[in-house]
Protein backbone atom coordinates (compact mmCIF):
# COMPACT_ATOMS: atom_id res chain seq x y z
CA UNK A 1 0.00 0.00 0.00
CA UNK A 2 2.82 2.41 0.89
CA UNK A 3 4.53 1.76 -2.42
CA UNK A 4 1.33 2.50 -4.32
CA UNK A 5 0.90 5.78 -2.49
CA UNK A 6 4.52 6.73 -3.07
CA UNK A 7 4.06 6.14 -6.79
CA UNK A 8 0.82 8.11 -6.77
CA UNK A 9 2.47 11.05 -5.00
CA UNK A 10 5.32 10.96 -7.49
CA UNK A 11 2.92 10.98 -10.41
CA UNK A 12 0.83 13.80 -8.95
CA UNK A 13 3.85 16.00 -8.23
CA UNK A 14 5.50 15.41 -11.59
CA UNK A 15 2.29 15.87 -13.53
CA UNK A 16 1.53 19.00 -11.52
CA UNK A 17 4.91 20.56 -12.19
CA UNK A 18 4.74 19.57 -15.86
CA UNK A 19 1.34 21.23 -16.22
CA UNK A 20 2.53 24.35 -14.38
CA UNK A 21 5.30 24.81 -16.90
CA UNK A 22 2.83 24.96 -19.79
CA UNK A 23 1.75 28.28 -21.20
CA UNK A 24 -1.98 27.71 -20.91
CA UNK A 25 -3.65 29.24 -17.88
CA UNK A 26 -6.08 26.37 -17.39
CA UNK A 27 -3.21 23.88 -17.32
CA UNK A 28 -1.43 26.09 -14.80
CA UNK A 29 -4.44 25.86 -12.51
CA UNK A 30 -4.78 22.09 -13.02
CA UNK A 31 -1.11 21.75 -12.19
CA UNK A 32 -1.57 23.61 -8.93
CA UNK A 33 -4.53 21.40 -8.07
CA UNK A 34 -2.57 18.20 -8.70
CA UNK A 35 0.33 19.49 -6.61
CA UNK A 36 -2.05 20.32 -3.78
CA UNK A 37 -3.57 16.84 -3.87
CA UNK A 38 -0.11 15.33 -3.99
CA UNK A 39 0.84 17.28 -0.86
CA UNK A 40 -2.28 16.03 0.92
CA UNK A 41 -1.56 12.40 0.13
CA UNK A 42 2.04 12.97 1.20
CA UNK A 43 0.86 14.08 4.64
CA UNK A 44 -1.39 11.03 4.79
CA UNK A 45 1.49 8.72 3.93
CA UNK A 46 4.02 10.41 6.22
CA UNK A 47 1.57 10.18 9.13
CA UNK A 48 1.88 6.41 8.89
CA UNK A 49 -0.68 3.99 7.51
CA UNK A 50 -2.38 1.86 10.13
CA UNK A 51 -5.08 -0.52 8.98
CA UNK A 52 -8.19 -1.27 11.03
CA UNK A 53 -7.11 0.35 14.31
CA UNK A 54 -9.14 3.04 16.05
CA UNK A 55 -7.60 6.44 16.84
CA UNK A 56 -9.48 6.66 20.16
CA UNK A 57 -9.27 4.94 23.54
CA UNK A 58 -11.89 2.39 24.59
CA UNK A 59 -14.12 3.16 27.56
CA UNK A 60 -12.14 1.10 30.07
CA UNK A 61 -8.65 1.98 28.83
CA UNK A 62 -6.42 4.78 30.03
CA UNK A 63 -3.55 4.31 27.58
CA UNK A 64 -2.98 2.77 24.18
CA UNK A 65 -1.71 -0.78 24.42
CA UNK A 66 -1.92 -1.70 20.75
CA UNK A 67 -0.89 0.14 17.59
CA UNK A 68 -3.36 2.92 16.86
CA UNK A 69 -4.18 5.13 13.91
CA UNK A 70 -2.89 8.68 14.13
CA UNK A 71 -5.82 11.09 13.68
CA UNK A 72 -3.65 14.20 13.27
CA UNK A 73 -2.73 13.74 9.57
CA UNK A 74 -6.39 13.43 8.69
CA UNK A 75 -7.19 16.63 10.53
CA UNK A 76 -4.34 18.35 8.71
CA UNK A 77 -5.50 17.07 5.33
CA UNK A 78 -9.06 18.13 6.00
CA UNK A 79 -7.87 21.65 6.82
CA UNK A 80 -5.64 21.72 3.75
CA UNK A 81 -8.48 20.51 1.51
CA UNK A 82 -10.82 23.23 2.75
CA UNK A 83 -8.17 25.88 2.22
CA UNK A 84 -7.27 24.67 -1.24
CA UNK A 85 -10.97 24.58 -2.11
CA UNK A 86 -11.25 28.29 -1.31
CA UNK A 87 -8.06 29.14 -3.15
CA UNK A 88 -9.15 27.14 -6.19
CA UNK A 89 -12.53 28.84 -6.28
CA UNK A 90 -10.81 32.21 -6.23
CA UNK A 91 -8.26 31.19 -8.85
CA UNK A 92 -10.95 29.93 -11.24
CA UNK A 93 -12.84 33.21 -11.04
CA UNK A 94 -9.59 35.11 -11.53
CA UNK A 95 -8.74 33.07 -14.61
CA UNK A 96 -12.21 33.65 -16.01
CA UNK A 97 -11.84 37.41 -15.46
CA UNK A 98 -8.41 37.42 -17.06
CA UNK A 99 -9.76 35.50 -20.03
CA UNK A 100 -12.61 37.99 -20.30
CA UNK A 101 -10.31 41.03 -20.22
CA UNK A 102 -7.43 39.75 -22.34
CA UNK A 103 -9.29 37.27 -24.52
CA UNK A 104 -6.39 34.88 -24.35
CA UNK A 105 -5.48 31.69 -22.52
CA UNK A 106 -1.77 32.18 -23.18
CA UNK A 107 0.36 33.20 -20.20
CA UNK A 108 2.87 34.89 -22.50
CA UNK A 109 0.28 37.48 -23.45
CA UNK A 110 0.39 38.79 -19.86
CA UNK A 111 3.96 40.04 -19.96
CA UNK A 112 3.39 43.23 -21.90
CA UNK A 113 3.22 45.54 -18.90
CA UNK A 114 6.54 44.25 -17.56
CA UNK A 115 8.32 45.63 -20.60
CA UNK A 116 7.74 49.29 -19.79
CA UNK A 117 9.75 50.76 -16.98
Amino acid sequence: MELLLVLLIGILYSAGIFLMLRRSMVRLLLGLLLLGNGANILIFLMGGLTKGKPPILGEDESAFTDAYADPVPQALILTAIVISFALTAFAIILLKKVYATTGSDDLDSLNIQDLDI
Binding site: G36, L45, M46, A80, L87, A91, V98, T102
Partner: protein, 505 residues
Protein backbone atom coordinates in the same frame (compact mmCIF):
# COMPACT_ATOMS: atom_id res chain seq x y z
CA UNK B 1 2.68 33.59 31.92
CA UNK B 2 -0.48 31.91 30.67
CA UNK B 3 -2.98 34.39 29.38
CA UNK B 4 -5.91 34.63 27.04
CA UNK B 5 -4.97 38.22 26.36
CA UNK B 6 -2.65 37.14 23.56
CA UNK B 7 -5.64 36.50 21.28
CA UNK B 8 -7.29 39.86 21.95
CA UNK B 9 -5.79 41.81 19.02
CA UNK B 10 -6.63 38.95 16.63
CA UNK B 11 -10.21 38.81 17.89
CA UNK B 12 -10.66 42.57 17.67
CA UNK B 13 -9.71 42.54 14.01
CA UNK B 14 -12.02 39.60 13.36
CA UNK B 15 -14.93 41.28 15.13
CA UNK B 16 -14.28 44.49 13.23
CA UNK B 17 -14.27 42.60 9.94
CA UNK B 18 -17.51 40.80 10.72
CA UNK B 19 -19.12 44.01 11.90
CA UNK B 20 -18.15 45.68 8.64
CA UNK B 21 -20.13 43.06 6.75
CA UNK B 22 -23.31 44.48 8.26
CA UNK B 23 -22.48 47.88 6.82
CA UNK B 24 -21.90 46.75 3.25
CA UNK B 25 -22.00 49.73 0.86
CA UNK B 26 -22.27 52.25 3.74
CA UNK B 27 -18.95 53.98 3.23
CA UNK B 28 -19.01 56.47 6.08
CA UNK B 29 -19.98 53.88 8.67
CA UNK B 30 -17.30 51.50 7.40
CA UNK B 31 -14.62 54.15 7.74
CA UNK B 32 -15.58 54.91 11.31
CA UNK B 33 -15.83 51.26 12.36
CA UNK B 34 -12.50 50.49 10.75
CA UNK B 35 -10.71 53.35 12.49
CA UNK B 36 -12.25 52.50 15.85
CA UNK B 37 -11.40 48.81 15.47
CA UNK B 38 -7.87 49.64 14.41
CA UNK B 39 -7.37 51.99 17.33
CA UNK B 40 -8.59 49.44 19.89
CA UNK B 41 -6.40 46.76 18.35
CA UNK B 42 -3.48 49.21 18.34
CA UNK B 43 -3.82 49.85 22.07
CA UNK B 44 -4.15 46.12 22.77
CA UNK B 45 -1.05 45.38 20.69
CA UNK B 46 0.91 48.00 22.65
CA UNK B 47 -0.23 46.36 25.86
CA UNK B 48 0.74 42.95 24.53
CA UNK B 49 4.13 44.33 23.55
CA UNK B 50 4.76 45.89 26.96
CA UNK B 51 3.54 42.80 28.80
CA UNK B 52 5.78 40.55 26.71
CA UNK B 53 8.81 42.77 27.21
CA UNK B 54 8.19 42.69 30.94
CA UNK B 55 7.15 39.06 31.48
CA UNK B 56 9.35 37.41 28.88
CA UNK B 57 6.83 35.01 27.40
CA UNK B 58 3.07 35.10 27.10
CA UNK B 59 1.65 31.69 26.30
CA UNK B 60 -1.81 30.40 25.55
CA UNK B 61 -2.56 26.69 25.18
CA UNK B 62 -5.70 26.70 23.07
CA UNK B 63 -8.54 24.73 24.64
CA UNK B 64 -6.24 23.99 27.56
CA UNK B 65 -4.60 21.16 25.60
CA UNK B 66 -1.07 21.23 26.90
CA UNK B 67 1.76 21.58 24.40
CA UNK B 68 2.81 19.68 22.35
CA UNK B 69 -0.71 18.30 21.81
CA UNK B 70 -2.75 21.42 21.40
CA UNK B 71 -2.19 24.56 19.38
CA UNK B 72 0.01 26.95 21.28
CA UNK B 73 0.07 30.70 20.93
CA UNK B 74 3.32 32.24 22.04
CA UNK B 75 4.33 35.85 22.29
CA UNK B 76 8.07 36.20 22.78
CA UNK B 77 9.98 39.41 22.15
CA UNK B 78 10.33 38.75 18.43
CA UNK B 79 6.61 38.07 17.97
CA UNK B 80 5.67 41.06 20.06
CA UNK B 81 7.89 43.36 17.99
CA UNK B 82 6.22 42.10 14.81
CA UNK B 83 2.78 42.51 16.40
CA UNK B 84 3.59 46.08 17.37
CA UNK B 85 4.82 46.86 13.85
CA UNK B 86 1.68 45.31 12.36
CA UNK B 87 -0.46 47.42 14.68
CA UNK B 88 1.36 50.62 13.73
CA UNK B 89 1.10 49.93 10.01
CA UNK B 90 -2.49 48.78 10.19
CA UNK B 91 -3.59 51.89 12.07
CA UNK B 92 -1.72 54.32 9.82
CA UNK B 93 -2.67 52.61 6.56
CA UNK B 94 -6.23 52.23 7.81
CA UNK B 95 -6.52 55.97 8.37
CA UNK B 96 -4.75 56.72 5.11
CA UNK B 97 -7.11 54.43 3.17
CA UNK B 98 -10.19 56.34 4.30
CA UNK B 99 -9.07 59.27 2.17
CA UNK B 100 -6.82 57.68 -0.43
CA UNK B 101 -9.05 54.98 -1.84
CA UNK B 102 -11.74 55.39 -4.41
CA UNK B 103 -15.19 55.11 -2.89
CA UNK B 104 -16.08 52.04 -4.97
CA UNK B 105 -13.25 49.99 -3.51
CA UNK B 106 -14.56 50.73 -0.02
CA UNK B 107 -18.09 49.87 -1.12
CA UNK B 108 -16.98 46.48 -2.31
CA UNK B 109 -15.42 45.40 0.91
CA UNK B 110 -11.93 46.86 1.08
CA UNK B 111 -11.96 47.37 4.85
CA UNK B 112 -13.56 43.99 5.43
CA UNK B 113 -10.70 42.21 3.67
CA UNK B 114 -8.14 44.60 5.15
CA UNK B 115 -9.05 43.56 8.69
CA UNK B 116 -8.93 39.88 7.79
CA UNK B 117 -5.48 40.42 6.34
CA UNK B 118 -4.25 42.09 9.53
CA UNK B 119 -5.87 39.33 11.59
CA UNK B 120 -3.98 36.73 9.57
CA UNK B 121 -0.71 38.60 10.01
CA UNK B 122 -1.15 38.87 13.78
CA UNK B 123 -2.05 35.19 13.97
CA UNK B 124 1.01 34.20 11.96
CA UNK B 125 3.26 36.20 14.27
CA UNK B 126 1.74 34.81 17.46
CA UNK B 127 1.32 31.14 16.75
CA UNK B 128 3.68 28.51 18.09
CA UNK B 129 2.47 25.68 15.90
CA UNK B 130 3.86 25.07 12.44
CA UNK B 131 0.61 23.88 10.86
CA UNK B 132 -1.25 26.75 12.45
CA UNK B 133 1.33 29.04 10.88
CA UNK B 134 0.41 27.53 7.51
CA UNK B 135 -3.28 28.23 8.15
CA UNK B 136 -2.57 31.88 9.07
CA UNK B 137 -0.43 32.18 5.97
CA UNK B 138 -3.39 31.04 3.92
CA UNK B 139 -5.68 33.56 5.62
CA UNK B 140 -3.19 36.26 4.70
CA UNK B 141 -2.66 35.20 1.10
CA UNK B 142 -6.31 34.77 0.22
CA UNK B 143 -7.02 38.24 1.66
CA UNK B 144 -4.09 39.64 -0.27
CA UNK B 145 -5.39 38.02 -3.47
CA UNK B 146 -8.67 39.85 -3.06
CA UNK B 147 -6.98 43.16 -2.19
CA UNK B 148 -4.64 42.86 -5.14
CA UNK B 149 -7.38 42.20 -7.69
CA UNK B 150 -10.10 44.38 -6.13
CA UNK B 151 -11.07 46.86 -8.79
CA UNK B 152 -10.68 44.47 -11.68
CA UNK B 153 -8.44 46.55 -13.96
CA UNK B 154 -6.69 44.60 -16.68
CA UNK B 155 -3.27 45.35 -15.22
CA UNK B 156 -4.36 44.09 -11.80
CA UNK B 157 -5.73 40.87 -13.27
CA UNK B 158 -2.50 40.14 -15.09
CA UNK B 159 -0.47 40.82 -11.97
CA UNK B 160 -2.96 38.73 -10.01
CA UNK B 161 -2.20 35.61 -12.06
CA UNK B 162 1.52 35.77 -11.25
CA UNK B 163 0.95 36.64 -7.63
CA UNK B 164 -1.69 33.96 -7.06
CA UNK B 165 0.30 31.26 -8.82
CA UNK B 166 3.56 31.90 -7.00
CA UNK B 167 1.90 32.19 -3.62
CA UNK B 168 -0.14 29.03 -4.09
CA UNK B 169 2.99 27.20 -5.17
CA UNK B 170 4.83 28.49 -2.10
CA UNK B 171 1.99 27.29 0.11
CA UNK B 172 2.10 23.83 -1.44
CA UNK B 173 5.86 23.60 -0.91
CA UNK B 174 5.39 24.76 2.67
CA UNK B 175 2.67 22.14 3.18
CA UNK B 176 4.88 19.43 1.70
CA UNK B 177 7.64 20.41 4.11
CA UNK B 178 5.22 20.26 7.04
CA UNK B 179 4.07 16.81 5.92
CA UNK B 180 7.61 15.45 5.81
CA UNK B 181 8.46 17.13 9.10
CA UNK B 182 5.44 15.54 10.75
CA UNK B 183 6.42 12.19 9.30
CA UNK B 184 9.95 12.26 10.71
CA UNK B 185 9.16 13.83 14.10
CA UNK B 186 5.49 13.17 14.81
CA UNK B 187 4.81 16.63 16.21
CA UNK B 188 3.79 20.06 14.98
CA UNK B 189 4.54 22.25 17.96
CA UNK B 190 7.58 24.36 17.10
CA UNK B 191 9.20 24.04 20.51
CA UNK B 192 8.69 20.29 20.51
CA UNK B 193 9.93 20.05 16.91
CA UNK B 194 13.12 21.72 17.99
CA UNK B 195 13.77 18.95 20.52
CA UNK B 196 12.68 16.08 18.29
CA UNK B 197 14.55 17.20 15.18
CA UNK B 198 17.84 16.98 17.07
CA UNK B 199 17.19 13.27 17.68
CA UNK B 200 16.36 12.35 14.08
CA UNK B 201 19.01 10.02 12.73
CA UNK B 202 18.30 10.58 9.06
CA UNK B 203 20.01 13.99 8.74
CA UNK B 204 19.71 14.00 4.95
CA UNK B 205 15.94 14.09 5.18
CA UNK B 206 16.14 16.92 7.72
CA UNK B 207 18.28 18.98 5.33
CA UNK B 208 15.84 18.39 2.48
CA UNK B 209 12.96 19.52 4.67
CA UNK B 210 14.91 22.61 5.70
CA UNK B 211 15.50 23.44 2.04
CA UNK B 212 11.81 22.97 1.27
CA UNK B 213 10.96 25.45 4.04
CA UNK B 214 13.54 27.83 2.65
CA UNK B 215 12.05 27.63 -0.84
CA UNK B 216 8.50 28.08 0.43
CA UNK B 217 9.31 31.09 2.59
CA UNK B 218 11.76 32.33 -0.03
CA UNK B 219 9.00 32.65 -2.61
CA UNK B 220 6.81 34.49 -0.11
CA UNK B 221 9.52 36.91 0.93
CA UNK B 222 10.70 37.39 -2.68
CA UNK B 223 14.32 36.28 -2.73
CA UNK B 224 16.41 35.54 -5.82
CA UNK B 225 15.53 33.74 -8.12
CA UNK B 226 11.88 33.59 -7.11
CA UNK B 227 11.17 37.28 -6.64
CA UNK B 228 9.88 38.16 -10.11
CA UNK B 229 6.23 38.10 -9.05
CA UNK B 230 6.85 41.00 -6.68
CA UNK B 231 7.98 43.77 -9.06
CA UNK B 232 5.36 42.72 -11.59
CA UNK B 233 2.47 42.86 -9.14
CA UNK B 234 3.19 45.42 -6.40
CA UNK B 235 2.81 48.43 -8.66
CA UNK B 236 -0.73 47.56 -9.74
CA UNK B 237 -2.96 47.98 -6.64
CA UNK B 238 -3.68 51.41 -5.08
CA UNK B 239 -0.94 52.83 -2.89
CA UNK B 240 -2.69 52.06 0.41
CA UNK B 241 -2.80 48.37 -0.46
CA UNK B 242 0.76 48.42 -1.79
CA UNK B 243 1.83 49.97 1.53
CA UNK B 244 0.58 46.96 3.50
CA UNK B 245 1.98 44.50 0.98
CA UNK B 246 5.37 46.17 0.76
CA UNK B 247 5.63 46.76 4.48
CA UNK B 248 4.27 43.60 5.98
CA UNK B 249 3.59 40.72 3.60
CA UNK B 250 7.12 40.05 2.43
CA UNK B 251 8.33 40.53 6.01
CA UNK B 252 5.97 37.76 7.08
CA UNK B 253 8.02 35.36 4.95
CA UNK B 254 11.19 36.65 6.57
CA UNK B 255 9.62 36.29 10.01
CA UNK B 256 8.73 32.66 9.31
CA UNK B 257 12.21 32.04 7.96
CA UNK B 258 13.88 33.48 11.06
CA UNK B 259 11.54 31.54 13.32
CA UNK B 260 12.03 28.20 11.55
CA UNK B 261 15.77 28.57 11.09
CA UNK B 262 16.55 29.59 14.63
CA UNK B 263 14.08 27.44 16.53
CA UNK B 264 13.57 24.25 14.51
CA UNK B 265 16.62 23.93 12.27
CA UNK B 266 19.98 25.28 13.25
CA UNK B 267 21.50 25.93 9.83
CA UNK B 268 24.74 24.07 9.19
CA UNK B 269 27.66 25.35 7.14
CA UNK B 270 25.98 24.38 3.86
CA UNK B 271 22.66 26.05 4.70
CA UNK B 272 24.39 29.23 5.81
CA UNK B 273 26.31 29.38 2.55
CA UNK B 274 23.06 28.91 0.65
CA UNK B 275 21.55 31.80 2.59
CA UNK B 276 24.52 34.04 1.92
CA UNK B 277 24.76 33.20 -1.78
CA UNK B 278 21.03 33.79 -2.24
CA UNK B 279 21.26 37.02 -0.26
CA UNK B 280 24.10 38.34 -2.43
CA UNK B 281 22.16 37.58 -5.61
CA UNK B 282 18.98 39.10 -4.18
CA UNK B 283 20.74 42.32 -3.26
CA UNK B 284 22.50 42.65 -6.61
CA UNK B 285 19.50 41.82 -8.80
CA UNK B 286 17.18 44.02 -6.73
CA UNK B 287 19.61 46.92 -6.89
CA UNK B 288 20.21 46.55 -10.62
CA UNK B 289 16.48 46.32 -11.25
CA UNK B 290 15.87 49.56 -9.38
CA UNK B 291 18.44 51.61 -11.29
CA UNK B 292 16.65 52.21 -14.57
CA UNK B 293 13.05 52.42 -13.38
CA UNK B 294 11.09 55.58 -14.04
CA UNK B 295 7.91 54.71 -12.18
CA UNK B 296 8.38 55.29 -8.45
CA UNK B 297 6.30 52.27 -7.51
CA UNK B 298 8.34 49.89 -9.69
CA UNK B 299 11.51 51.39 -8.31
CA UNK B 300 10.38 50.81 -4.73
CA UNK B 301 9.30 47.25 -5.62
CA UNK B 302 12.85 46.44 -6.65
CA UNK B 303 14.21 48.14 -3.56
CA UNK B 304 11.96 45.88 -1.46
CA UNK B 305 13.58 42.86 -3.11
CA UNK B 306 17.02 44.35 -2.65
CA UNK B 307 16.50 45.00 1.06
CA UNK B 308 15.05 41.53 1.68
CA UNK B 309 18.56 40.48 0.71
CA UNK B 310 19.97 42.33 3.75
CA UNK B 311 17.69 40.38 6.05
CA UNK B 312 18.48 37.01 4.46
CA UNK B 313 22.18 37.82 4.65
CA UNK B 314 21.82 38.57 8.34
CA UNK B 315 20.24 35.15 8.88
CA UNK B 316 23.03 33.61 6.80
CA UNK B 317 25.82 35.09 8.93
CA UNK B 318 24.02 33.59 11.92
CA UNK B 319 25.80 35.33 14.77
CA UNK B 320 24.02 37.10 17.56
CA UNK B 321 25.27 40.49 16.39
CA UNK B 322 24.04 39.84 12.86
CA UNK B 323 20.67 38.81 14.26
CA UNK B 324 20.50 42.14 16.10
CA UNK B 325 21.02 43.78 12.73
CA UNK B 326 18.21 41.69 11.22
CA UNK B 327 15.72 42.62 13.93
CA UNK B 328 16.69 46.28 13.82
CA UNK B 329 16.54 46.38 10.04
CA UNK B 330 13.16 44.64 10.06
CA UNK B 331 11.74 47.30 12.40
CA UNK B 332 13.15 50.10 10.27
CA UNK B 333 12.20 48.55 6.94
CA UNK B 334 8.55 47.86 7.77
CA UNK B 335 7.99 51.46 8.87
CA UNK B 336 9.90 53.14 6.07
CA UNK B 337 8.69 51.02 3.14
CA UNK B 338 5.04 51.45 4.07
CA UNK B 339 5.63 55.14 4.53
CA UNK B 340 7.26 55.59 1.13
CA UNK B 341 4.53 53.65 -0.64
CA UNK B 342 1.91 55.87 1.00
CA UNK B 343 3.92 58.93 -0.03
CA UNK B 344 3.84 57.66 -3.60
CA UNK B 345 0.07 57.69 -3.36
CA UNK B 346 0.06 61.36 -2.33
CA UNK B 347 2.46 62.27 -5.13
CA UNK B 348 0.09 60.54 -7.52
CA UNK B 349 -2.81 62.56 -6.14
CA UNK B 350 -0.88 65.81 -6.55
CA UNK B 351 0.50 65.24 -10.03
CA UNK B 352 -1.57 62.39 -11.51
CA UNK B 353 1.56 60.46 -12.39
CA UNK B 354 4.39 58.65 -10.66
CA UNK B 355 6.74 58.69 -13.63
CA UNK B 356 9.75 60.58 -12.28
CA UNK B 357 10.65 62.16 -15.63
CA UNK B 358 7.22 63.80 -15.77
CA UNK B 359 7.26 64.93 -12.16
CA UNK B 360 8.99 67.93 -10.67
CA UNK B 361 8.69 71.08 -8.62
CA UNK B 362 7.08 69.38 -5.61
CA UNK B 363 9.65 70.93 -3.29
CA UNK B 364 8.56 74.41 -4.31
CA UNK B 365 4.83 73.74 -4.29
CA UNK B 366 4.66 71.74 -1.07
CA UNK B 367 7.74 72.58 1.03
CA UNK B 368 6.41 71.22 4.35
CA UNK B 369 5.19 67.96 2.83
CA UNK B 370 8.49 67.55 1.01
CA UNK B 371 10.32 67.80 4.29
CA UNK B 372 8.25 64.94 5.73
CA UNK B 373 8.84 62.92 2.57
CA UNK B 374 12.56 63.61 2.83
CA UNK B 375 12.75 62.06 6.28
CA UNK B 376 11.24 58.81 5.00
CA UNK B 377 13.33 58.68 1.85
CA UNK B 378 16.64 59.39 3.53
CA UNK B 379 15.86 57.00 6.37
CA UNK B 380 15.68 54.29 3.72
CA UNK B 381 19.11 55.23 2.42
CA UNK B 382 20.48 55.14 5.93
CA UNK B 383 22.09 58.54 6.22
CA UNK B 384 23.24 58.88 9.82
CA UNK B 385 21.60 59.44 12.21
CA UNK B 386 18.40 58.29 10.51
CA UNK B 387 17.05 54.81 11.18
CA UNK B 388 18.54 52.85 8.29
CA UNK B 389 22.08 53.67 9.35
CA UNK B 390 22.36 51.63 12.54
CA UNK B 391 21.47 48.14 11.31
CA UNK B 392 23.63 48.63 8.23
CA UNK B 393 26.68 49.27 10.39
CA UNK B 394 25.88 46.04 12.15
CA UNK B 395 25.70 44.12 8.86
CA UNK B 396 28.91 45.65 7.52
CA UNK B 397 30.78 44.93 10.74
CA UNK B 398 29.59 41.36 11.01
CA UNK B 399 30.31 40.44 7.40
CA UNK B 400 33.81 41.86 7.85
CA UNK B 401 34.29 39.96 11.08
CA UNK B 402 33.15 36.63 9.62
CA UNK B 403 35.28 37.30 6.51
CA UNK B 404 32.40 37.24 4.05
CA UNK B 405 33.96 39.69 1.65
CA UNK B 406 31.61 39.00 -1.25
CA UNK B 407 28.73 39.69 1.06
CA UNK B 408 30.35 42.92 2.21
CA UNK B 409 30.78 43.99 -1.40
CA UNK B 410 27.13 43.19 -2.10
CA UNK B 411 26.06 45.19 0.97
CA UNK B 412 28.07 48.19 -0.17
CA UNK B 413 26.82 47.93 -3.74
CA UNK B 414 23.20 47.61 -2.62
CA UNK B 415 23.51 50.54 -0.22
CA UNK B 416 25.18 52.65 -2.86
CA UNK B 417 22.52 51.88 -5.45
CA UNK B 418 19.81 52.67 -2.89
CA UNK B 419 21.49 56.01 -2.25
CA UNK B 420 21.81 56.71 -5.97
CA UNK B 421 18.22 55.77 -6.74
CA UNK B 422 16.74 57.78 -3.87
CA UNK B 423 18.93 60.79 -4.63
CA UNK B 424 17.81 60.69 -8.24
CA UNK B 425 14.21 60.37 -7.12
CA UNK B 426 14.65 63.34 -4.81
CA UNK B 427 16.20 65.62 -7.44
CA UNK B 428 13.77 64.61 -10.18
CA UNK B 429 10.58 64.80 -8.15
CA UNK B 430 11.25 67.57 -5.65
CA UNK B 431 14.04 69.80 -6.90
CA UNK B 432 13.72 69.83 -10.67
CA UNK B 433 11.38 72.35 -12.27
CA UNK B 434 8.12 70.77 -13.32
CA UNK B 435 8.36 69.82 -17.02
CA UNK B 436 4.90 71.12 -17.82
CA UNK B 437 2.79 73.84 -16.24
CA UNK B 438 0.54 72.58 -13.45
CA UNK B 439 -3.09 73.47 -13.86
CA UNK B 440 -5.65 73.43 -11.08
CA UNK B 441 -7.30 70.45 -12.71
CA UNK B 442 -4.42 68.03 -12.21
CA UNK B 443 -3.87 68.64 -8.51
CA UNK B 444 -6.42 66.43 -6.77
CA UNK B 445 -4.75 67.02 -3.45
CA UNK B 446 -5.16 70.78 -3.00
CA UNK B 447 -8.91 70.54 -3.57
CA UNK B 448 -9.53 68.09 -0.74
CA UNK B 449 -11.22 69.22 2.44
CA UNK B 450 -9.35 69.47 5.74
CA UNK B 451 -10.24 66.02 7.08
CA UNK B 452 -9.22 64.22 3.93
CA UNK B 453 -5.92 66.06 3.86
CA UNK B 454 -5.44 65.26 7.51
CA UNK B 455 -6.19 61.56 6.92
CA UNK B 456 -3.62 61.48 4.14
CA UNK B 457 -0.85 63.41 5.85
CA UNK B 458 -1.18 62.39 9.49
CA UNK B 459 -0.19 58.71 8.93
CA UNK B 460 2.84 59.73 6.90
CA UNK B 461 3.94 62.27 9.47
CA UNK B 462 3.43 59.75 12.24
CA UNK B 463 5.50 57.12 10.48
CA UNK B 464 8.21 59.67 9.71
CA UNK B 465 8.33 60.50 13.41
CA UNK B 466 8.59 56.81 14.23
CA UNK B 467 11.58 56.47 11.91
CA UNK B 468 13.12 59.60 13.44
CA UNK B 469 12.54 58.06 16.85
CA UNK B 470 14.23 54.83 15.76
CA UNK B 471 17.15 56.84 14.43
CA UNK B 472 17.69 59.19 17.36
CA UNK B 473 16.79 56.73 20.05
CA UNK B 474 18.74 53.90 18.49
CA UNK B 475 20.18 52.62 21.73
CA UNK B 476 16.82 51.61 23.18
CA UNK B 477 15.80 49.92 19.94
CA UNK B 478 19.22 48.28 19.87
CA UNK B 479 18.73 46.99 23.37
CA UNK B 480 15.37 45.52 22.42
CA UNK B 481 16.89 43.92 19.32
CA UNK B 482 19.74 42.59 21.44
CA UNK B 483 17.36 40.92 23.85
CA UNK B 484 15.35 39.47 20.97
CA UNK B 485 18.44 38.22 19.16
CA UNK B 486 19.67 36.60 22.33
CA UNK B 487 16.34 34.80 22.71
CA UNK B 488 16.40 33.70 19.10
CA UNK B 489 19.93 32.37 19.22
CA UNK B 490 19.25 30.49 22.47
CA UNK B 491 15.98 28.72 21.70
CA UNK B 492 16.12 26.65 24.90
CA UNK B 493 14.43 29.48 26.80
CA UNK B 494 11.55 29.45 24.34
CA UNK B 495 11.27 25.66 24.46
CA UNK B 496 11.25 25.63 28.23
CA UNK B 497 8.63 28.33 28.42
CA UNK B 498 6.32 26.51 26.02
CA UNK B 499 6.73 22.90 27.09
CA UNK B 500 7.32 22.97 30.82
CA UNK B 501 4.78 25.48 31.80
CA UNK B 502 2.36 24.31 34.44
CA UNK B 503 -1.12 25.66 34.10
CA UNK B 504 -1.79 28.06 36.97
CA UNK B 505 -5.25 27.42 38.34
Amino acid sequence: MITNFILAPILIHMITAVLLLFFWQKVQAQKIISIVGNSIAFLLCIRLFIATQREGFLILQAGNWQAPFGITFVSDSFSSIMVLLTAIISLTVGIYSTAALHINRIKFGYFFIFHFLIMGLLGAFLTGDIFNLYVWFEVVIISSFVLLTLGGKKMQMEAGIKYVTMNMLASIIFLTAIGILYGITGTLNMADLSLKIAKVEHTGLVSVTALLFFIGFGIKSAVFPLYFWLPSSYHTPPSAIAAIFGGLLTKMGVYAMIRVFTLIFQPDEFMRNVFIAIAIMTMITGALGAINKRSIRRLISYLIVCHIGYLIAGIGIYTELAMIGVIFYLVHDVIVKSNILMITGIIQKIRETIDITRLGGLGKDYPKLSFVFAIALFSLVGIPPLSGFWPKIQFFGESLKTEQYFLLAAFILASFVTLFVIARLWTEVFWKESPKPITEKIDHFAGLNFWKKFALIAPITALSFVSLYIGFNADSVYEMAQKTAHELMNPSVYIEAVLHHKFAK
